[in-house]
């Protein structure tokens, strides 16, 4: 066959498409494997917030927030919501559980301040989008970590997180009025860096509980390993009905909220028996 320019160009073009296509397929396959949720070996740390134990104007809410924010030198820019940086904060119950569409709910839950923080999801969308791997899910215990050295401030993770758990430092955090006195055992962040709760990884490393859990004296918050059947979190979850935020998204949050109160439990008890009998007839 005689080599023509036309023939050569056709061949070159087809080869280029073939090479690019196979490379893309290979990358896609690899990428989708990396996005599988991590195996549940090792620990799987989780937090249970017992909403029944918090009153509406509970001083404990502020105590918890202050404990966390002081320990981690979180700047207080709360006067301007745009600049606000928060690791743990409160929201109305209905707002916190928007996707559950609670209508006509119990009076005591209506507008009840609910503690919110990073959910340390089993399937975190924030870590997928990070272009520098500055945030990742720690394989040993499931904590969604932050490496503030690596964060380039692109804010993809802020957009990706469906829970609003990530804050961007628009202003120099050291200029915040509350950081005139800094806790020297923990660094601050720089302007242009995203920050969030890390389940107190520095305290976990010392064998301590997270700062928020430590100030709770009556198990208002319970922290532990879900993979350990004897752990306190597993016992609490086995005894009570707990809900999670936006379960439909498939992120598998690891922060649980107990909402029922003892009164409803008693009311449910006879109903459950009736239900059991009916089930027997069917």
């Amino acid at each position: 066959m005689k080599n023509s320019r036309r023939g050569f160009l056709k061949f070159a073009g087809l080869s280029a498409v073939g090479v690019a296509g196979s490379a893309a397929v290979a990358t896609r396959t690899r990428a989708s494997q990396e996005h599988e949720p991590p195996a549940t070996e090792g620990k799987r740390l989780a937090l249970v917030v017992d909403l029944r134990k918090f009153s509406r104007d509970d001083a404990l809410l502020d105590k918890i927030t202050d404990a966390c924010h002081q320990t981690h030198n979180v700047p207080d820019f709360s006067d301007d919501p745009k600049n606000e940086v928060k690791w743990i904060w409160t929201e109305d119950f209905e707002t916190a559980f928007l996707s559950q569409e609670f209508h006509y709910i119990r009076e005591d839950l209506k507008g009840k301040p609910t503690l919110l923080l990073c959910n340390h999801c089993d399937n975190p969308p924030c870590t997928r989008v990070c272009p520098t791997q500055a945030t990742w899910k720690r394989a040993s215990d499931g904590v969604v970590m932050m490496d503030w050295h690596r964060c380039i401030g692109c804010r993809y993770c802020v957009v990706a997180c469906p829970y609003g758990s990530r804050s961007f430092n628009w202003k120099d955090p050291r200029k915040a009025p509350n950081l005139a006195e800094i806790d020297s055992t923990y660094p601050t962040r720089m302007r242009g860096v995203v920050e969030k709760c890390t389940f107190c990884d520095e305290r976990l490393a010392r064998g301590e509980q997270p700062a928020c859990v430590e100030v709770c004296e009556n198990d208002e918050m319970v922290f532990g390993d879900l993979n350990d059947p004897e752990s306190k979190v597993r016992q609490v979850l086995a005894e009570h009905l707990a809900i999670r935020r936006k379960p439909g998204l498939g992120t598998q949050p690891e922060v649980y909220y107990i909402v029922e109160d003892p009164r409803t439990l008693q009311e449910f008890a006879p109903a459950a028996e009736v239900f059991g009998e009916e089930g027997g007839h069917a």
Partner: protein, 129 residues
């Protein structure tokens, strides 16, 4: 070539002027202004590694510490020199002995015109108090 002598002389002057910073630095190699670092004030005489190693490699060691602590959750460092263990912490371990950051870190960094941004986040214990 017309005016060869003028052109060559002019070129020579230009080359000398253009390379003058290099000459200047070469002649001042042993600068009398080289900083002297203060000894630790807490009586400690032993660093995590040998002094010579630290002088040339402290930045690499700190990079390694940063990655092992943050990414691998390993917080204890075993010295290759003495076999002793240290907590990998810039603010606590390093500045625990070298308390004067402005005389210890900054003196050399200013002299060699490097500007590490460790202190944008990490706290200098003396200043925090």
């Amino acid at each position: 070539m017309y005016d060869a002598s003028k052109i060559v002389a002019g070129l020579a002057v230009f080359v000398v002027l253009a390379t003058s910073p290099l000459w200047f630095n070469a002649l001042n190699a042993a600068s009398p202004n080289a900083p002297e670092l203060p000894k630790p004030t807490n009586g400690s005489t032993e660093c995590v590694e040998a002094t010579e190693f630290m002088r040339t490699n402290h930045m690499n060691l700190l990079d390694q510490w940063r990655d092992t602590v943050v990414r691998d959750d390993v917080r204890t460092y075993t010295s290759e020199m003495s076999g002793k263990t240290f907590t990998m912490s810039l603010s606590d371990t390093c500045l625990g002995c070298h308390t004067k950051k402005d005389q210890f870190c900054d003196a050399c960094h200013t002299y060699s015109a490097v500007d590490p941004y460790c202190w944008g986040c990490h706290v200098i214990p003396e200043e925090a108090q």
